[in-house]
């Protein structure tokens, strides 16, 4: 799949933003006034910037309002609705904390629940797609997305020790997901024979593509560059997402510069991991145009 920068920015930043909301809704850190403003500002900035970035890959954003209409069938529609519901639920909670110095725990907990559901809907947008075997892994992909959000949120909430352990956990789960994806693709029932239905007559090979030029389907769904360096990029992502931040958080004193260093490493690592999430993912339509 084509790793569009807008979608990578969206899933990385929004994941962190909603992850931070999960902790803020539970009262961690338990702050009011100016510090509360700073924390809610970060959470809103990350999630809103991410959501705005996600609209950049739309061909026709003027119809965006309709995207809230199909919650009965569409995970993308559900995601849009839940993101807005979560952001609006946290607004009075944040106002109470910042300006009135009061905490409404029920509202916060409800917001946390909505943030968890938002991240789940994002993950299901990918996990539902039978056409992309590496994404079509339930419940592994949703659990991975949730754990990323919770771990990243803990990091931003300043819970250095908890974040360290959560980040170790998400790194292990990411490696498991990579391996599960490799296995799933290697044992896939789809090949050039089932794609064309001609497999029962013999070995199928593409003789001529349907087009000499580029096409939308090839550009969007048959991205080959990422697969070339996949193993090196996985190693780099593993170090940046988890190994380095976890070492920093668990071994060094939890001061602000230390946490910021861990945040920087983690965010760059997650972005690299999300790039791989797209670039590595094979779409079954590639069977129709695969040479050899």
């Amino acid at each position: 799949m084509h790793p569009a920068p807008s979608v990578i920015i969206f899933t990385t930043l929004s994941g962190l933003g909603f992850g931070l909301f999960m902790w803020l809704g539970l009262g961690t850190p338990d702050v009011t006034g100016i510090p509360a403003f700073a924390w809610f500002f970060v959470a809103y900035a990350l999630s809103v910037v991410g959501l705005i970035a996600s609209t950049f890959h739309l061909g026709n954003p003027k119809n965006a309002i309709y995207a809230f209409s199909q919650w009965r069938t569409s995970w993308l529609s559900r995601e849009g609705i839940m993101a807005v519901v979560t952001l609006f639920t946290f607004a009075p909670f944040a106002i109470g904390k910042i300006f009135l110095g009061v905490t409404w725990p029920l509202l916060g907990n409800l917001g946390t629940l909505f943030a968890v559901i938002t991240v789940f809907t994002t993950s299901m947008m990918y996990a539902q797609l039978k056409t992309v075997p590496r994404w079509n892994m339930f419940p592994l992909i949703p659990v991975l997305f949730e754990l990323y959000a919770i771990a990243g949120g803990a990091l931003l909430a300043g819970e250095a020790r908890i974040a360290g352990w959560l980040i170790l956990a998400v790194t292990v789960l990411q490696i498991i997901t990579w391996m599960a994806g490799d296995k799933k693709y290697a044992t896939l029932a789809t090949d050039k024979g089932t794609a064309t239905g001609l497999g029962r007559f013999g070995k199928v090979r593409m003789l001529e593509s349907g087009h000499t030029a580029r096409s939308y389907v090839m550009d969007e769904m048959v991205h080959l560059i990422g697969r070339k360096h996949a193993h090196k990029l996985r190693a780099i992502a593993t170090i940046l997402i988890g190994v380095l931040p976890a070492l920093i958080l668990l071994l060094l004193p939890a001061t602000t510069p230390v946490i910021l260093l861990a945040v920087a490493s983690h965010v760059i690592g997650v972005a690299a991991g999300r790039w791989l999430f797209f670039a590595e993912a094979e779409h079954v339509v590639g069977m129709y145009s695969a040479r050899g």
């Binding site: 061909g59 309709y66 809230f68 069938t73 064309t196 030029a213």
Partner: protein, 246 residues
């Protein structure tokens, strides 16, 4: 609404004969022509006369070579690929706006361009590469079964067919109601072997591909060929003998 209809009154679709298709791309050109000048946003081309041309097509003809297991002559199969108007169309249910829908009256899968946001998720959900996002209009384009031809009473009756079917010089493309067992297309399908495209995806396509018939069985056919003459007779016989004597 992006919920799929439980049943459709008709199942309009194409029957494509892989045995007959000669791979001329006439259907591709007719489709592009009709669908650029009629319903919906035109199928644009980007840099059409330049170094890196690309464009939107609703139908593309690939060619495959099938080599029988255990040897034998390879067979070329020309393979037109377009929307299969699936009964369990995954492209419809993923649509966040309701732009993508399947009609309950005839089963055609369409895009309402006035609602489409061009997110591309339907193209991701389609295993057949049947949907292309038009790069100029920013909306998703797909085969409409020429919905603006088949019911169009301003056209002569013989033209009320999808443009690809109307133009096919080989008679490899057929159009009709595959839900009606007495229709011509259903009878054609019943009389022939068919191939399923990625049945493991569970999409239940309406369009049906007729399998290529086996041919060019070299081992058997070659044995049947016997020499028609071993000795030259008549003028050639005289010439042969005369040249021998020289």
């Amino acid at each position: 609404m992006t919920a799929l209809p439980k049943t459709t009154r008709k199942k309009l679709g194409l029957v494509i004969d892989l045995d007959t298709c000669v791979g001329c791309h006439g259907c591709v050109t007719a489709c592009k022509g009709w669908n650029t000048q009629n319903y919906g946003a035109p199928l644009s081309d980007i840099d059409p006369y330049g170094a890196d041309p690309s464009g939107t097509f609703l139908n593309r003809v690939f060619s495959y070579e099938v080599t029988p297991e255990g040897g034998g002559a390879a067979q070329t199969v020309h393979f037109p690929r377009s929307c299969l108007h699936c009964e369990d169309a995954p492209c419809v249910t993923v649509c966040p706006t309701g732009a993508s829908y399947k009609r309950s009256e005839d089963g055609i899968v369409l895009v309402n361009e006035d609602r489409c946001i061009g997110c591309g998720l339907c193209a991701w959900a389609c295993p057949y590469g049947a949907r292309e996002l038009d790069q100029l209009a920013g909306v998703m384009k797909k085969c409409t079964l020429c919905v603006d031809r088949i019911y169009n009473e301003n056209l002569p009756e013989e033209d009320r067919l999808p443009a690809c079917v109307r133009t096919c010089p080989a008679g490899a493309r057929h159009f009709g109601d595959l839900g009606d067992p007495d229709s011509d297309v259903s009878k054609l399908v019943a009389s022939r072997e068919t191939v399923d495209l990625m049945p493991e995806q569970g999409t239940r396509p309406v369009n049906t591909y007729l399998a290529p018939r086996p041919r060019d069985r070299m081992g058997r056919d070659a044995a049947e060929l016997k020499p028609v003459a071993t000795e030259a007779k008549g003028f050639l016989g005289w010439l042969d003998k005369a040249l021998e004597k020289l």
